[in-house]
């Protein structure tokens, strides 16, 4: 294992937490941190989140205690109390979430007791321990969900049939977070479910507060938000289902079937919806057929991404688009026990392909892994090179694409070279979007 991480494709726990809190409706983060953390997070979003920065109270607008050397020596509790009081006067919000940072956690400020003073006054305020050294953005996202589930959701309410919560996509860390969540909501609503996704403009704090009334929690990630699902189950007794991020028709079919099974929905209804959605999908694909063939748009592919995307994109490329993804690289920091499930997601493909899987946090190592599969350049008259090729990854993988003469699309963080608003790749419609974007990248100079 490398002793460093090359161009980390995520922020720290605080970064992921701040992004998540700013993405919740009417919610205000209060950073208990040195002054620079907010700026560092903002600059990172600016560079990697598909031109999205901030939110209602994000970026350099987030309240932050901006602690200094004095607090490091004498403690920051007093400053935090003052900062929260000021925030309540200046900032309009319905829920406030205090987030700790490296510095305040090492100096050991008693954040919980300061926060409880305000709770006692009836303020909706909670906190999370998100010191940067505790993990990366995805972990911070999970921690925010945990505190929300433990400390904000109403307890002891009745379950309502057909109500589900969905999470597993970290805002801003996935540039396509809004589009993906909307699309998952859309397919679930087709099943007749009432869906709470926490972070989209369809969600409200009122509904979030009632989230414990759901009969099922759906985590569309093998890693992100799974700990939070455990916490939810412990506190509110709601079971959860972990599924991969469904991209394209094949994955969406399985997704809907697994939800139907978990909720014991009527088979024929679900199959009917699946048929209808596929029909719709292929109705759009149909006129592509001539050019797809004439231009020979099938590709070998390297897929580089986070735990959600690397596996989900591989499945789509292989089983819907009919490409040949031969190498899948997971760029997250993962614990050993988290790896098998991800590897397994990339195997058992309908195409029969068995891509090589690498867990690699250093992007510049991808070429080495690729060279282990087959040559990336011709070495003689007859050579079975890796080409024509496509690199589906982040904007940091452009150098690799250039080196091997492949087309390229940024999807996983960082997405520096695309503007992303409501675009998403989840679901059936996401498969269409993705097909458009991949093929457009190939024919750019046409």
């Amino acid at each position: 294992m490398s002793s460093f991480i090359e161009r980390p494709r995520y922020l720290c726990a605080l970064g992921g937490a701040m992004a998540a809190v700013t993405a919740l409706p009417d919610t205000i983060p209060i950073l208990h941190a040195a002054a620079g953390c907010a700026g560092n997070i903002t600059w990172t979003q600016n560079g990697g989140s598909g031109l999205q920065v901030g939110g209602y109270c994000g970026g350099l607008s987030v309240p932050s205690s901006n602690i200094q050397e004095r607090e490091v020596v004498f403690g920051g509790d007093v400053r935090l109390r003052e900062q929260i009081a000021g925030t309540l006067e200046v900032i309009e919000g319905k829920l406030f979430v205090v987030l700790t940072s490296c510095v305040t956690e090492i100096i050991g400020d008693d954040v919980k007791s300061v926060v409880s003073e305000f709770q006692d006054e009836g303020i909706d305020i909670i906190s999370a321990e998100t010191g940067g050294f505790k993990g990366n953005s995805y972990h911070g996202y999970d921690l925010v969900l945990q505190t929300l589930f433990k400390n904000y959701l109403e307890r002891g309410i009745d379950k309502v049939k057909g109500r589900v919560n969905v999470w597993g996509i970290a805002p801003y860390q996935d540039a396509f977070w809004r589009g993906n969540l909307e699309e998952v909501r859309h397919v679930l609503e087709k099943l007749g479910l009432e869906v709470n996704t926490f972070f989209t403009s369809h969600d409200t704090l009122e509904k979030i507060k009632q989230a414990a009334s759901a009969e099922l929690n759906i985590v569309i990630s093998d890693i992100y938000g799974v700990e939070a699902a455990n916490v939810f189950e412990e506190v509110h007794g709601t079971p959860y289902l972990v599924t991969p991020l469904p991209i394209g028709p094949s994955a969406s079919d399985s997704f809907l079937r697994s939800i139907a099974e978990a909720l014991s929905l009527d088979d024929s209804v679900v199959e009917g919806i699946i048929e209808q959605e596929n029909k719709h999908y292929y109705n759009y694909i149909e006129p592509l057929t001539e050019c797809y063939n004439d231009l020979d748009l099938q590709r070998y592919a390297v897929v580089i991404g986070d735990a959600n995307y690397a596996a989900a994109l591989t499945k789509f490329l292989s089983d819907d688009l009919g490409w040949l993804p031969e190498l899948v690289v997971f760029t997250d920091q993962l614990r050993e026990e988290q790896k098998p499930v991800l590897t397994q997601r990339t195997q058992g493909l309908e195409s029969g392909l068995q891509p090589k899987v690498a867990f690699e946090t250093n992007g510049s190592e991808v070429l080495r892994h690729l060279n282990e599969i087959r040559p990336t350049y011709s070495s003689g008259k007859y050579s079975d090179v890796f080409g024509p090729a496509f690199v589906v990854g982040s904007s940091l993988d452009r150098e690799l694409a250039q080196t091997i003469g492949a087309a390229h699309l940024s999807i996983s963080f960082p997405v520096a070279n695309r503007a992303v608003l409501d675009r998403g790749y989840a679901g059936y419609r996401g498969g269409l979007r993705l097909t458009e974007d991949l093929l457009s990248a190939i024919i750019l100079a046409r």
Partner: protein, 507 residues
């Protein structure tokens, strides 16, 4: 004794009595002069800002053949994702090659916080040296090692003999200073201590007497033009053009400097700064150690400021006549080109926000274009800017609001609601508030755009014209987007949360 003999540079609060809190008017500020905003005054409510790590990385990420090794938690230095765009385009403009900046993180975790990060750092340096074979490794220390007490300099000293890259420590513990301009000192400190020696293989031995004389003459006409990444390539080209017109060669330093060429900064005839906030630390060092005189006065933003900047340099070389000729021609041409814009700008109200020198110089430029200045926000205040306030006070007739704040959009929104400017110029990630109020906006700093010299005046005018001509993006946005402030706050006094002697309000 120069500060460079110490391991770390002092923070600016101590060295320059820099401060970040003031609210009042230009007249009030000039009356109060140096005591205006007492060192170490605070805000009782504050918003997030940046730390010195960000501008420091802005510089370091541009260095070719360098690996940035961040020693800290995994998130510190994530800002490199946006700075990478500058590294890519800047490299392309200078050498025709697009290349990503290379930054690594030691990603300190919970276990490291308890047992210390020195061993991890040691390993990371060795591995980085082996994997990437860079000429230099800049070890950038963030908050965590500062608190847990890692001896970063000790590790570097210990490990240097084992690695071929030159290792440069840059101290950026964010919690230690609230003046992020300390970043420039930190980077200059690191470079100054380790990189200014002429490389051995560069010492040409067989060189004729004539060549020596030629070289000597050339050096007597070469100036260091310092750029800490506040200018993009277009601006460097503009200033080189103006200096070239006086027969001077420019050596641009330190952004995008090749490590083997950095020593050149110690051979020039003169160091020229474009902003005292950036460069005082280095120019004073170069004078003390290498007897290179310096000019640290005007920022060449705006017509009069550019004229003054040129005149200072010309006076040093005895080129006054050429300079006057150049200035006359340049300003004549520029004024003619500006006339159509000036008529349009006349009386339009403008508010600017940026680093102190940039904010003031840009305000001056805008006054030259015919705008009425209604407010200036500077990120900090120090002694260098006193003359700039005086200049501006003379140039504009009206009194206007001054706010010293390390960003703090809540103060800004309060002021903007009251002052209602036609256009707002703010720094990177600092235009959102004004946009959501429906005010026309323009970024006051972006390394892809032209701001400096005569060309900068014209290009900025052109861009402002464009923004004012159609501000509908912001106008429509303001009707549909919310700002996160309470009604009560809009009614309050804008500098309410500045404690003790920071503002006029306390008098």
């Amino acid at each position: 004794m120069t500060y460079l003999e110490n391991k770390e540079p002092p923070k600016r609060e101590d060295r320059l009595k820099t401060c970040i809190t003031y609210g009042g008017t230009i007249c009030g500020l000039s009356k109060k002069s140096k005591s205006c905003c007492i060192n170490d005054s605070e805000r009782g409510f504050s918003q997030g800002s940046i730390c010195l790590l960000l501008p420091a990385l802005g510089m370091i990420n541009s260095l070719p053949d360098n690996v940035v090794l961040l020693h800290g938690a995994i998130g510190c230095g994530g800002c490199s994702h946006s700075q990478n765009a500058n590294a890519r385009s800047g490299g392309n403009l200078r050498w025709g090659k697009v290349k990503d900046a290379l930054w690594l993180s030691t990603a300190l975790n919970e276990a490291d916080v308890i047992s210390g990060g020195e061993i991890k750092l040691e390993k990371a340096i060795i591995e980085a040296d082996r994997n990437y074979r860079p000429a230099t490794i800049t070890v950038v220390a963030a908050c965590v090692p500062g608190i847990i007490g890692d001896d970063v300099d000790g590790v570097i000293e210990r490990i240097q003999p084992q690695v071929s890259a030159r290792i440069i420590p840059v101290h950026c513990e964010g919690f230690k200073t609230k003046i992020w301009a300390t970043a420039y000192d930190a980077v200059y400190h690191g470079i100054g201590r380790s990189l200014l020696e002429k490389p051995e293989n560069n010492k040409n031995l067989n060189i004729s007497e004539f060549e020596k004389l030629e070289e000597k003459y050339k050096l007597s006409r070469t100036v260091n033009l310092l750029n800490v990444s506040s200018m993009g390539r277009v601006d460097e080209v503009e200033l080189s053009r103006l200096l070239g017109a006086l027969g001077l060669e420019t050596n641009i330093f330190p952004v995008f400097s090749k490590p083997e060429e950095m020593y050149k900064v110690t051979h020039a005839a003169l160091s020229i700064s474009t902003c005292p906030t950036h460069d005082d630390y280095l120019v004073k060092f170069l004078e003390e150690k290498f007897q290179i005189p310096y000019i640290l006065r005007h920022m060449p933003i705006g017509i009069e400021n550019t004229n003054k900047w040129i005149r200072d340099i010309a006076a040093f070389f005895g080129l006054e006549q050429q300079a006057e000729k150049l200035i006359k021609e340049e300003t004549r041409e520029l004024e003619a080109a500006l006339s159509e814009f000036k008529a349009f700008f006349k009386g339009k109200r403008v508010f600017v926000s940026a680093g102190e020198f940039r904010a003031l110089a840009t305000a001056y430029l805008l006054a030259e274009l015919g705008f009425e200045i209604v407010g200036v926000r500077s990120f900090h205040h120090d002694e260098f800017a006193e003359t700039e306030y005086e200049k501006l006070e003379k140039a504009v007739k009206n009194d206007f609001t001054i706010n010293i704040a390390n960003v703090q959009p809540f103060e800004e929104v309060n002021l903007l609601k009251k002052l209602k400017p036609d256009v707002f110029l703010g720094h990177w990630n600092g235009n959102g508030t004004a946009s959501k109020l429906g005010i026309a906006t323009h970024v006051i700093y972006n390394t892809g755009l032209s701001y400096i010299g005569y060309k900068g005046v014209y290009e900025l005018a052109r861009r402002l014209y464009r923004q004012l001509k159609n501000p509908l993006f912001n106008k429509k946005l303001s009707k549909n987007a919310r700002l996160p402030y309470t009604e009560q706050w809009y009614k309050s006094e804008p500098f309410k949360y500045i404690k003790n002697q920071g503002g006029e309000a306390d008098e």
